[in-house]
């Protein structure tokens, strides 16, 4: 039986063809590191749970929302297109299904924390338009979108969220920094919750070489 108010964390990861090779390997390593890091942190272990949604030609949830203690890295392969719109649709369905609402007898979960990592333009315009029509106003989650490399369009990511970060490349070094920062963000969020539902999240300053898009 669980009475805890969880912090759901969703990672939306770009697994399109352009990520193949070093980038996708860095993402695999990054998730491994992220999970190892969090498994050593009692606050994160007691509050955070993690899910991975990948998007390529199709978007799918590769790891359902899982206790950190039970989380196992998903198998990631990179090929195909960039269904970012589809990923947002999956995210919405998952939040609806997995995140507990407050009821008379149960504490609801905290507002989910969502990290989106992509290295290029989405390829599913229609779905992307549908999903971004109200995603900002619904405020169902605190979303941070991170663009890697030269093919990312800031204005597109801005349609998803006001929190947009850019990193110069999708290199192993930058991706490793990204996951370290995600780890820090989850740790920070899991402790700053302090039973203040709905409060603005505080995240650590982004790593060097990352630009915050105003």
């Amino acid at each position: 039986m669980s009475y805890v108010r969880r912090l759901p964390v969703y990672l939306l990861l770009d697994c399109s063809g352009s990520m193949s090779g070093e980038p996708i390997e860095s993402v695999r390593q990054g998730i491994k590191m992220l999970v190892n890091e969090l498994k050593g942190d009692p606050q994160a272990l007691e509050t955070a749970c993690l899910s991975v949604i990948t998007f390529a030609s199709v978007a799918q949830q590769t790891s359902p929302l899982t206790e950190l203690m039970l989380f196992k890295e998903p198998k990631l392969e990179a090929s195909g297109a960039t269904s970012l719109g589809g990923a947002l649709k999956v995210l919405r369905e998952c939040i609806d299904k997995e995140v507990r609402k407050t009821t008379e007898n149960q504490k609801g979960d905290w507002k989910p924390l969502v990290f989106i990592l992509t290295d290029g333009m989405h390829t599913d315009d229609d779905e992307f338009d549908r999903q971004t029509a109200d995603i900002k106003s619904l405020k169902v989650a605190n979303i941070i979108a991170v663009g890697a490399g030269p093919y990312v369009e800031q204005s597109t990511l801005k349609r998803i969220t006001d929190n947009v970060l850019l990193m110069n490349t999708a290199s192993a070094g930058d991706l490793s920094k990204f996951f370290a920062w995600v780890s820090g963000s989850i740790k920070m969020s899991s402790k700053s919750l302090d039973a203040k539902p709905g409060g603005a999240i505080e995240l650590p300053p982004p790593p060097q070489g990352f630009t915050i898009v105003p």
């Binding site: 009692p42 039970l70 998903p74």
Partner: protein, 504 residues
């Protein structure tokens, strides 16, 4: 949530509760007696039990992520499934296994570190505060402990409390500094002391000017003299809150430009570096009556609740506060917020109540959040205090004498045994501190709180019998030990609880 529970009513237009009924004060503009049916209909809600189906047994043998030496008596020792002691993880795209809170806690228990309060920062605060004292006709038992989060990170405790006896009024102030603010502990302390200094002066003044005030507070609820006096006391509380706020502002200003402070936050100090909540309670036992007059005022989260042991089940708990986290706005109010600037702004946060009560408990959210929703769960807090022998109950003591040996032994087999977790105190060999959890009894026997309250006295007595450790220490030490030791998943905030017990 606050309005749907058994609660001392808001002070928008002055209201109060008596015997679970809610009234408005007639001399307040536009006020009328609120019909009692409504409040009683609402009260019934507090007795609605947890759905039984929600309870599943804790133990799933092979999955327990636990190290053998952490095992407690009533749980089976699991076999580790991986070298790290972690259970087999869910494969991708499969439905994840579910862990119970207990299983997660077994795993995190050894990960919590203890780092002492930092010495190089300005104004380090004590690790613990305890107080055991007689305040007029009340006995106060209070403690504050540094949360596991702060111990883990080596940061200061941000909670504070003060208690005072002012001409037989028992006064409690409880405050929680904002977790994200560096000097919120100073805000917490100065808000408590500010309120106390104001009341020490002005409540005495008021009593000098109006020597009948105390007597009037005991008059019939419809008597205008009672209503006048209750109004004065409500305003007194509101003024004390504003004085507390001013004291925090003064503390902030006094530290601007003082070396060490700006350096610690790496910029100029701001008032919200001192952000803190404040829960103020003023209670007067009515002479020649078993009723107590209570006025409370609260800004920010936390809870104050009264217990009437002999009341019908749905009227045992009276919530005397409302954790106003602003529901949807996402703005947590603090005493330092710019919106808290006038008596008007405190009207909706003030409650007046007169009823027969045995205990008042005022606490920061570090405790209140572990007993959520408060309207039901404050009773579980009270029962947890009983079974851990923090406070004594005449009923349980009587039961202890009445229970014969055979029945005692029979019950010992079916009630939960204490659970022990290592104390996070930096000792080389951490003590294992046994704690009883009434929730365990609920889960183990599929009982709701009402059933336990009405029929579970024997079980509670036997549970309390298994807690031996702190006997011989004073109540405040026992409270401190309990606050420092009880374990709830996701609960690692500072914990402060002030208990006011009315003498026989």
């Amino acid at each position: 949530m606050g309005n749907s529970e058994n609660t001392g009513k808001k002070y928008g237009s002055l209201m109060y509760t008596q015997h679970g009924k809610i009234y408005k004060l007639a001399n307040n503009p536009g006020s009328k007696v609120i019909h009692t049916e409504k409040s009683e209909a609402v009260l019934i809600k507090t007795s609605s039990p947890f759905p039984k189906t929600a309870f599943t047994k804790v133990s799933k043998k092979a999955e327990m992520p636990q190290e053998p030496e952490k095992s407690t008596e009533d749980k089976p020792v699991p076999e580790a499934t991986e070298a790290a002691g972690l259970p087999e993880a869910a494969g991708a795209s499969e439905t994840p296994q579910v862990l119970s809170d207990w299983e997660v806690l077994q795993h995190t228990a050894s990960l919590w570190k203890y780092k002492p309060v930092p010495k190089d920062e300005p104004e380090p605060y004590e690790e613990y505060l305890t107080e055991s004292a007689t305040l007029g006709s009340f006995h106060v038992t209070a403690a504050r402990v540094r949360g596991k989060k702060h111990k883990h990170e080596g940061t200061n405790c941000d909670d504070w409390f003060e208690t005072r006896n002012i001409e037989n009024f028992a006064v409690i102030a409880v405050s929680d500094g904002a977790g994200s603010k560096k000097f919120s502990r100073i805000g917490a302390k100065t808000s408590c002391t500010g309120a106390m200094e104001y009341l020490e002066r002005e409540l005495k003044n008021l009593l000098r000017k109006n020597s009948e005030l105390k007597a009037h507070l005991g008059y019939d609820l419809k008597d205008s003299r009672f209503q006048q006096a209750a109004s004065q006391m409500a305003q007194m509380a509101q003024h004390a809150m504003l004085a507390a706020r001013q004291n925090v502002i003064n503390a902030f200003q006094a530290r601007q430009g003082t070396p060490g402070y700006a350096e610690a936050v790496k910029r100029d100090l701001q008032l919200n570096d001192f952000a803190a909540t404040l829960l103020l309670t003023i209670a007067l036992p009515i002479e020649n009556s078993d009723e107590t007059f209570i006025v409370t005022c609260q800004v920010g989260d936390g809870m104050t609740a009264a217990i009437s042991r002999t009341a019908p089940y749905d009227q045992i708990i009276t919530l005397l506060g409302d954790a106003d986290s602003g529901a949807f706005s996402g703005e947590t109010e603090f005493l330092t917020s710019s919106s808290i600037d006038s008596l008007q702004s405190l009207m909706g946060r003030t409650r007046v109540s007169r009823k027969k009560i045995d205990i008042i408990m005022s606490m920061t959210d570090g405790v209140a959040d572990d007993y959520d929703p408060n309207g039901k769960e404050m009773l579980r807090l009270y029962l947890d205090l009983l079974v851990n022998r923090v406070i004594s109950s005449p009923q349980l003591e009587m039961m202890q004498k009445k229970l014969d040996k055979a029945r005692y032994e029979e019950l010992s087999k079916i009630v939960p045994a204490p659970q022990s977790y290592p104390a996070v105190t930096g000792e080389l060999e951490p003590r294992m501190v046994p704690v009883q959890y009434v929730r365990e009894l609920q889960e183990k026997q599929g009982l709701d709180l009402k059933k336990i309250w009405e029929e579970g006295r024997e079980s509670l007595t036997v549970m309390a019998g298994a807690i031996q450790l702190n006997t011989g220490k004073n109540a405040a030490t026992r409270l401190k030990e309990w606050l420092d030791s009880y374990v709830v998943r996701g609960s690692f905030d500072d914990r402060t609880l002030v208990i006011l017990q009315r003498g026989e």
